[in-house]
Symmetry: C2
Subunit: 222 residues, 2 copies
């Protein structure tokens, strides 16, 4: 539901962003030259600088635009839904759906977060933090309502993000389950893991609490 038609300028900007994101996703930000971007967008090298004033700002625009959309979509989707478990399920669905449909941008967002300067980083990171806090609070709420015990909320939150964000490393739309299946699987994996099965826990987890590891012994440990 685009609010208004995009101007010629905006249309071309979006095209440049989308194309650049694909190249960045493929070769990585730092090993992509502006000449690569020029080739991919079929624009002259100097012509690109009409749309942004540095390579770094190009990366920022991709990240900011992309992440803003995830959050806005999420906010809109969760509006009016009260049950925290249902909210979580919708959030997971939205996140994965957007991720799969914009894999290039999301890869760039996940992978090149540290490749921009302090100020820009801060701006993107603020939104990121908001999003993380949304999830963390949601999990806290669910934990309270369902008397979840023995799970660190921070660990749970980032485990969920890890599950979801890792997909750009392996997910192949052509051979893997579709987005709906992906959402269903991950929702089930995480949610019933988070809520826990008290009987099961007692049986399988407490039995081997002692650690079987020496400290990591390797050549790395000087």
């Amino acid at each position: 539901m685009p609010a208004e038609p995009l101007s010629r300028y905006d249309q071309k900007l979006v095209h440049v962003l989308k194309t650049s994101a694909a190249v960045f996703a493929d070769k990585g930000y730092h090993s992509t030259s502006m000449r690569d971007i020029s080739r991919a967008t079929k624009m002259s090298l100097s012509g690109l600088y009409y749309y942004f004033k540095s390579k770094e700002e190009l990366l920022f625009l991709i990240q900011d635009y992309c992440f803003s959309t995830v959050i806005d979509d999420c906010r809109r989707l969760l509006e009016g839904v009260d049950d925290p478990i249902r909210r979580l399920k919708l959030l997971i669905e939205n996140h994965l759906n957007y991720f799969v449909n914009n894999m290039n941008e999301m890869k760039v967002l996940s992978h090149e977060a540290n490749s921009i300067s302090r100020d820009m980083f801060r701006k993107v990171n603020n939104k990121k933090r908001q999003y993380v806090e949304l999830v963390m609070n949601l999990l806290g709420e669910i934990a309270r309502e369902n008397r979840v015990e023995g799970v660190d909320i921070r660990v749970a939150t980032f485990s969920l993000f890890g599950m979801m964000n890792w997909i750009y490393n392996w997910y192949d739309p052509r051979k893997d389950v579709d987005v709906a299946g992906l959402s269903q699987n991950m929702t089930r994996l995480f949610l019933s893991g988070f809520l826990g099965d008290k009987a099961l826990e007692a049986k399988t987890l407490d039995a081997g609490r002692e650690s079987h590891l020496d400290r990591a012994v390797s050549i790395w440990q000087q």
Copy 2:
């Protein structure tokens, strides 16, 4: 348990690798110059090339050495353990323990996997594939024994790796739970999620199977 004392050469090589890994982890491979490495290791620029013949090989050595150790440690640890659930728990513990104690190298391994050439990539990736298959088979076995249904094994496998490997994005040893707690949390999250709670599932998951998402509507979708 180092089998034999390292030669002067090997000692220095390891020092170079470890130092370089820290710099790569901090600034990223591509935006780290050989001059940065030279500064960090307090060696001359050309002196470095006595230990490897290109920047790329340096990255490869870090990745290969580091990953080989994870796998070897894992193999050794699992030897003689038959119960698949216990095997999985040990594997998770080993993985996280090594990850936390060698965060720089693991970050480089996870983050810069695509930054090396075809041949080197293939060599590292073979080991990676072995490792992934080990886990995937393990999960298959557990699923069979416990009549786990409705979970895609591939999705489950990479969800587990996602949970574990994502930690370099957030884990801070100074403020988060220690490795033991981390293992415990993630083991519980994943395992009881994977094994599932049939009663819970029926109650919370089937209720909302319809998707509440339009396709991702955003400026990105041309």
